[in-house]
């Protein structure tokens, strides 16, 4: 008797196995049933989430922590549309995620069938590329292309929409190794002439500065960046997403720059005479008022995506290439200049304007995060949600290791932190993983407590609970005459009881004196997930702060006495 041909769905799963997929983050449904059926006989482990948004954030966290693509499987219609926020998050932050969506049968496409949505149409703007598979024979080629596109060059999410008749039909197409994409090329080594020019600018600068972004994390450029900084005797700053590429505890490292970066990092940006972006895109959180950003400083831009050159800032030298390869080549060509005065100046700023917070008047989020940095010793993977806690975590939890800091930067997606931590935990089962979240964002994806509990993931979730949407409240206080609107989260559940309802261990911190003890207990707890709820003071502000649209020189280091003009920049 002849062996039965595999179905399209079985072929798809075999293709995923060939790609080395360990986990699929998914949620089942009618149009995806053939694929879920094929998973039964596969070694790929299905992580059943509680909401599709959580699935994409988990795959995203998995990808950011491991460098490998995260895979999502959902059904058609609402299952697919629930992934859009996750796709945007991955797209904005260049994360390789593959989203497989079930689709109604081909003959029903465009006829408003049950749970039909034009998923490729809805997602065009939030994917690197996408496919609607019309023929089972295309499955191996499409899958190979999707993984290639998602993981190479500037990574990003790729969506594959799979009509149910396509996944049910027999498929005898062979596996594909090579891709044929004539419109797709990715630079690797930079142009030698551009590298020589950049080396010239760096070598002649008296106040050089290295500005490190997510591209340096993705290309694992951190060690090369540190070597370059040491050779040039130039300080380093990094973006929110660049944290961890170059060790933030290195003496040449000034921490995070930008809207809520350290005062000394921003002062260095404002005063440098040569700034080199390494896998960073001069985001509006970084530049503030564009016309006044680093006026007079030479600007060098290293990026694997040439479309970033000139988008925000017109660089003097643009180098298209892989950040690590380009920086390694640069090291060969630079000559250190005398930067002693410059480093002394940076050190003076560091001493004069350290990060600080009030030690009295109740439990402070900054204190909790400062101690978290101490308890983890910089060795844990930390994910965050979005808001005040995110900025405080970025300020106080110094990242020493690549891929140990995971945060939603470009999209600023609330609800990201907790599911991303679960994905990161699966990617790094031996590591301690902490999700730092606020009470607002946590509630957007808190249903994933079940996912954490079922899989006994030893992830620690630290909820910084101020019963407010703190960052918006801060803006209303500073710029809107404290007219609070839509920020009071009255009605929050008791998060300790909530965790316990899922069978999850939970602690509550009310007093500063309990911080170290409880954080240490949670850090050592490895029987499953745990939750620490820090009941912090309701009203506190993140400083330093550069109001949106303000030049860097308009940085506010402490709470101003007088009311401020409303910011001109976006959000």
């Amino acid at each position: 008797m002849e062996a039965r041909l595999p179905t399209g769905a079985e072929k798809l799963i075999q293709c995923l196995e060939c790609e080395g997929v360990e986990y699929i983050f998914g949620y089942s449904g009618g149009a995806a049933m053939p694929i879920f059926d094929a998973l039964v006989d596969s070694d790929i482990e299905l992580i059943l989430v509680r909401h599709e948004q959580g699935a994409v954030h988990m795959a995203d966290g998995y990808a950011r922590a491991s460098g490998k693509p995260g895979v999502v499987l959902v059904t058609s219609g609402p299952g697919a549309t629930n992934t859009v926020t996750g796709l945007l998050t991955a797209h904005m932050d260049s994360v390789p995620v593959i989203v497989l969506t079930g689709q109604t049968i081909s003959s029903m496409l465009g006829k408003d069938g049950f749970q039909e949505a034009d998923v490729t149409g809805i997602t065009y703007a939030v994917v690197k590329h996408s496919y609607l598979v019309k023929d089972p024979a295309d499955i191996p080629r499409t899958t190979r292309e999707a993984f290639h596109i998602a993981t190479t060059g500037r990574p990003g999410p790729v969506l594959i929409d799979l009509p149910k008749d396509v996944t049910q039909a027999p498929c005898d197409a062979p596996f594909v190794d090579e891709v044929d994409l004539p419109g797709y090329s990715t630079p690797t080594h930079g142009d030698p002439e551009a590298i020589r020019q950049a080396a010239g600018l760096l070598s002649s600068a008296r106040r050089p500065l290295l500005y490190v972004g997510h591209g340096a994390v993705i290309s694992n450029a951190g060690k090369a960046v540190v070597r370059l900084a040491e050779r040039l005797r130039a300080p380093i700053v990094n973006t929110l997403l660049g944290k961890g590429a170059a060790d933030e505890t290195h003496p040449l490292h000034l921490g995070m720059l930008g809207m809520h970066g350290t005062a000394y990092a921003n002062k260095a940006v404002d005063a440098c005479d040569c700034i080199m972006a390494i896998g960073a895109r001069w985001d509006d959180r970084i530049t503030g008022k564009l016309d006044e950003f680093c006026v007079g400083a030479a600007k060098i831009h290293i990026d694997i995506d040439p479309a970033e050159f000139g988008k925000m800032i017109q660089p003097d030298v643009a180098i298209a290439g892989d950040a690590r390869l380009v920086v390694e080549e640069l090291i060969q060509h630079v000559e250190p200049s005398d930067t002693r005065e410059w480093l002394e100046q940076c050190q003076t700023w560091r001493e004069r304007h350290p990060l600080k917070y009030a030690r009295q008047g109740g439990l402070r989020a900054q204190h909790v995060l400062d101690r978290l940095n101490h308890v983890t010793g910089g060795n844990a993977v930390i994910t965050t949600d979005v808001g005040q806690h995110q900025m405080w975590a970025a300020q106080f939890c110094l990242a020493t290791t690549n891929r140990h800091w995971i945060s939603s930067g470009g999209a600023g997606t609330m609800g990201f932190g907790f599911p991303a931590a679960l994905g990161a935990q699966l990617a790094c089962p031996e590591k301690k993983v902490w999700a730092v979240v606020g009470d607002g964002g946590f509630q957007m994806t808190q249903a994933e407590l079940a996912t954490a509990a079922i899989h006994k993931l030893p992830t620690k979730c630290l909820i910084i609970n101020n019963n407010f949407l703190g960052m918006v409240r801060q803006w209303q206080e500073l710029f809107f005459e404290n007219r609070l609107s839509g920020v009071d989260l009255v009605g929050n559940p008791d998060f300790v009881k909530l965790a316990q309802a899922y069978g999850i261990k939970a602690w509550r911190i009310r007093r500063s004196a309990d911080v170290d003890r409880i954080l240490s207990q949670a850090h050592e707890y490895d029987e499953g997930p745990c939750v620490v709820v820090a009941e912090v003071v309701k009203e506190d502000n993140v400083f330093p702060m550069i109001p949106a649209g303000s030049p860097i020189s308009g940085m506010i280091i402490e709470k101003p006495r007088n009311p401020l003009a409303r910011p001109t920049g976006s959000t």
Partner: protein, 190 residues
């Protein structure tokens, strides 16, 4: 509502020779002609169009046709918008997986042409004048009816503009232009 006009015309009024110089909103934004070589894949047109729309560029004309190589198509896009973001937009078009290359032919040495079909209501004296205009512009009468003519004319967009401007607006029943197609001169790539 304005009073009903007895002559059926295209929804977009023809504004004569100014059409080629300014954007629909009346601002004096230059027109660009961008040639793309793309993979003939589903969705490629949407992806290309989205790069324009996201940046507030208006597509004036768009021609898509099969290229010399099987599986690839040619797109010629004429558009208006802020010139300062054009080069960045071209990079974003090039970045699309299905786009092989993108070339801005706004100021390069290229040959360009366009075809127009013009349906004109005319009879008697009017008709004689239209025929004279047609002859001058080497336009061909492709439909000769009792009350109307259809002219087919090709050439540079300026020539088409000039012809259209000579025909009384109220006599133009319908106007269809193919949109510009371009090709780089000599052995340069389009």
């Amino acid at each position: 509502m304005t009073s009903a006009t007895p002559i059926t015309t295209d929804l977009q009024p023809v504004t004569g020779s100014t059409r080629r110089e300014s954007a629909p909103d009346g601002s004096k934004k230059p027109l660009h002609t961008i040639a793309l070589l793309v993979r003939n894949a589903p969705g490629v047109l949407v992806r290309v169009a989205m790069v324009f729309s996201r940046r507030g560029y208006n597509i004036e004309s768009l021609v898509v046709s099969p290229g010399a190589r099987e599986g690839f198509s040619r797109m010629t896009v004429t558009c208006s918008g802020d010139p300062s973001i054009l080069s960045q937009m071209i990079k974003q078009l090039t970045k699309l997986v299905d786009v092989v290359h993108t070339i801005d032919h706004t100021s390069t040495d290229s040959f360009e042409t366009e075809i127009a079909l013009i349906k004109i209501r005319c009879s008697g004296e009017e008709r004689r004048e239209i025929l004279q205009i047609a002859e001058h512009f080497k336009a061909k009468i492709v439909d000769y009816a009792a009350e109307s003519l259809i002219l087919r004319v090709y050439g540079g967009s300026d020539k088409l503009d000039a012809l259209i401007a000579l025909i009384p607006k109220e006599n133009i029943v319908e106007l269809v232009r193919s949109g510009k197609i371009v090709m780089a001169r000599a052995l340069e790539k389009t």
